[in-house]
Structure formats: C-alpha cells, structure tokens
C-alpha cells in the first residue's frame, strides 16, 4: 500500500490551498452631544444676547382739567405695538414672568390730597406660540404685589416679533385727582423669559 502511494505522488503535482484568515472589515464610531436649554434675544436687544428693552412714550398725561387723560390707554397700545421684541427658547415650555410697576412722578416725593403722582395700570403681555396660539400673562401695578409667572403651553414662535404688550385700566387713586406737574413720569414693565421654571 505504501509503495503504490509513492508511485502516485511521482506522477502528479500536489495542489495545496490555505484558507485566508478572516479580517475585520468594518468599524462603528458613535458621536454624542447635548444642547442645553437656553433663551436668546433675536430682536429688541443685542442679538443672541440676554436682555431686550423698549420705550413707550406717552407724552402729556393730563387733560385740560389736569386729571389723567382718558385716551392714555390708546396711546399706550399704539406705542407698544411698535416695539419689536423676538425672543427664542429651545425648550418646549419656557417660563415667563410679567411685573408691571406704577408710573410715578420722579421728582415729586409726595402728592397732597386731591392730587396724584402715581398712575396704575394693567399690563398684558402676549406670547406667540408655534405652530399657533398665544399665551397672555397679566400683571396689575396696583393690585399685584408680585410678578405673575406662567409656564407657556408651547414653544415660542420664531421668525418674527413674538412678544406683544398692551395696557388696560390706567388710573389714579381717584379719578378726580390732579396729576402733579413733573417732566419725568416713569414706569416699567419687567418681562422675563426662561427656558424652564
């Protein structure tokens, strides 16, 4: 048997093939990251900044009789509508606060009976949401001792002015109070917008 096998090997060449070793032909790379909740001013302040502002000039506050003129609300709303404020937040439900501060004569410390140096009002701030709808947050300078806070029911709309202001119920302590003379009556509406509570 051994001899027959030896003859066979002489007659033909042997073919040997070695299988190739398996190679790694793929790899996976994972990239992760985060975006923090934030709110940024687009218009009405420094772009990408954190504050915005506007001025509502009311001019002469008294009528010919010296009392608060009845059309001050209309002038307030007209002037406020011209303020372009756009704030964007990347969270689904930003939290806002509104705090209306009375309009005061800055250079008159006190007003005697029958006179007034203070005007109260109700500030209404409307926040536009996307895809539609609004949230209105109200604060009265005379009756609300602290700011009104609210979590919006959706994302702030983007691309245009999305914060609007109007005023109601402008009044002195008594309707017959004479407004003291002062060239500087000043009040503030403080509005904050935060990514969350």
């Amino acid at each position: 048997m051994k001899k027959i096998l030896a003859v066979a090997l002489m007659a033909t060449g042997a073919v040997i093939a070695t299988p190739a070793a398996a190679q790694t032909v793929s790899g996976d790379i994972t990239i992760t990251g985060s975006v923090a909740g934030k709110c940024l001013v687009v218009t009405g302040g420094t772009p990408a900044g954190s504050s915005f502002s506007g001025t509502i000039p009311l001019g002469e506050l008294a009528d010919s009789m010296g009392v608060l003129r009845s059309d001050v609300e209309a002038d307030f709303d007209t002037a406020a509508a011209a303020i372009d404020i756009q704030v964007v937040c990347n969270t689904a439900a930003p939290h806002v606060t509104v705090d209306a501060n009375e309009i005061l004569a800055q250079n008159v410390a006190t007003a005697p009976a029958g006179y007034a140096r203070r005007i109260d009002y109700e500030a209404n701030v409307t926040f536009d949401l996307t895809p539609s709808g609004t949230n209105v947050v109200t604060n009265d300078s005379g009756t609300d001792a602290s700011p009104t806070g609210q979590t919006l029911s959706g994302r702030l709309a983007s691309g245009a002015t999305n914060i609007h202001i109007d005023g109601d119920d402008f009044r002195t302590a008594n309707a017959t109070d004479i407004l003291v003379a002062d060239t500087e009556y000043e009040g503030h509406i403080l509005i904050t917008v935060a990514p969350s509570v």
């Binding site: 001899k3 030896a6 003859v7 090997l9 002489m10 033909t12 060449g13 042997a14 073919v15 040997i16 093939a17 070695t18 190739a20 070793a21 190679q23 790694t24 032909v25 793929s26 790899g27 996976d28 790379i29 994972t30 990239i31 992760t32 990251g33 985060s34 975006v35 923090a36 909740g37 934030k38 964007v88 990347n90 969270t91 689904a92 996307t130 895809p131 959706g154 994302r155 709309a157 983007s158 691309g159 990514p195």
Partner: protein
C-alpha cells in the same frame, strides 16, 4: 507472507502447472517497477511537486471605533479624530454610512425648530507609498443613498479609492467636526447622537 514470497509462489505454481520443475531463485527478480525499502537498492527519491496560491487580503488591522461626546456642541466649534489602520495588500475602498445624517435628538420639531444638527466628516487614507486619499462631506450626505463620494458600503463598491496597498500604516483617520451652530432653525434642547459605520474592501 511478504510480497516477494507471494510473487515467487505464483511463478512456482505456474511452472509446476506446466510440469517443469524450477529451482527457487533469489528475490533480485522482484524489484522491477517497485522500490522496496527492505531490499537492495535501499535508497531512492521521490519528488513531490506542490503548487499553492495566496489570495489578496484587505481589512482593518485596527478598525475605527469608539465614542466621542461633545457637550453643548452648538455653542462652540469642535473636532475629533478616530484613527485606524488598514491591512490591504492592494488597492482598496473605504466607505462610511451615517445612521442619522447628523446629530439627532428625539421628538418632533415645529416650524422654526429642528432636532437634527449638522456636522462634517473627513476621511483620510494613508498607503504604503504614495500620496494619501482624502475627502470631506457633510454627515447629511452620508446617509443611505447619500451624495457623498464615500457614502455607502465598501462591499458594494462604494467608498474612497486608495490606489495601492496599505499595511499597518498610521495616519488614516475619520475626523468629525462642526463650527458654532448657525442654522436658521433653532436646535431644540436635549441629547443628540449619530453612528458612523466605516467599511473597507479590496478594490479593482
């Protein structure tokens, strides 16, 4: 009974069958056509011809892998390299496919917002000799069927072509990067992620 003895017994049987008596001879007549190790001559040689082949190979000696985390990636430029080494005896192709076409977070985004952040992918391939191959694309062009030159799966013939062999050469990498986010849509807050699958194959 050994082979020589068996042959001899057959011959003797034939001779006796013919009525002729023949004296038994030695086994020197047994050597024709065969080689017996136990009988003279005692040495010989056998030549065995062997032919074989070694096929071309191509893969990663060190595959690209790992995870890179970039917190608050939207507010600063960032970059990161994933090095790798090829083990290809000839030309090759390396392809990349992005699972999401960018960094993606969960949820839906209304108008003006987005859940997908862009980033860029650069592929650099170094070979044993000669200039490297290099190309860059946006991750958005690396999804299935994307328009990037190295998008897809190398096994399907896709990928950046490297003209000659690369074996255990350093300097090949996948680089991911992005500038400060400046897209028109607002990136929603959250955690984002993407996975790149990098493949290699021998190329014709």
């Amino acid at each position: 009974m050994g082979a020589c003895a068996r042959i001899m017994s057959v011959v003797l049987a034939a001779l006796f069958a013919g009525g002729i008596a023949v004296a038994q001879t030695g086994c020197g007549t047994c050597q024709t056509g065969t080689l017996y190790a136990e009988k003279a001559p005692t040495t010989g040689s056998l030549t065995i011809y062997v032919t074989a082949s070694v096929g071309g190979h191509c893969g990663f000696s060190e595959a690209p892998s790992g995870t890179h985390d970039e917190p608050n990636f939207d507010d600063h430029a960032w970059t990161h390299d994933f090095p790798f080494e090829l083990d290809c005896s000839g030309p090759s192709r390396v392809a990349i496919e992005s699972a999401n076409g960018g960094l993606l977070t969960s949820g839906t985004a209304p108008a003006g917002y987005t859940t997908l952040a862009p980033y860029n992918v650069e592929l650099n391939l170094v070979r044993n000799s000669g200039s490297p191959a290099n190309a860059s694309c946006a991750a958005a062009d690396l999804d299935d069927g994307g328009g990037c030159s190295f998008a897809g799966d190398a096994a399907d013939g896709d990928g950046l072509f490297l003209a000659s062999g690369s074996q255990n050469q350093t300097g090949s990498y996948v680089r991911v990067s992005a500038p400060i986010y400046a897209g028109s849509n607002i990136l929603v807050s959250g955690n984002y992620a993407d996975t790149l699958t990098v493949t290699v194959s021998a190329a014709n």
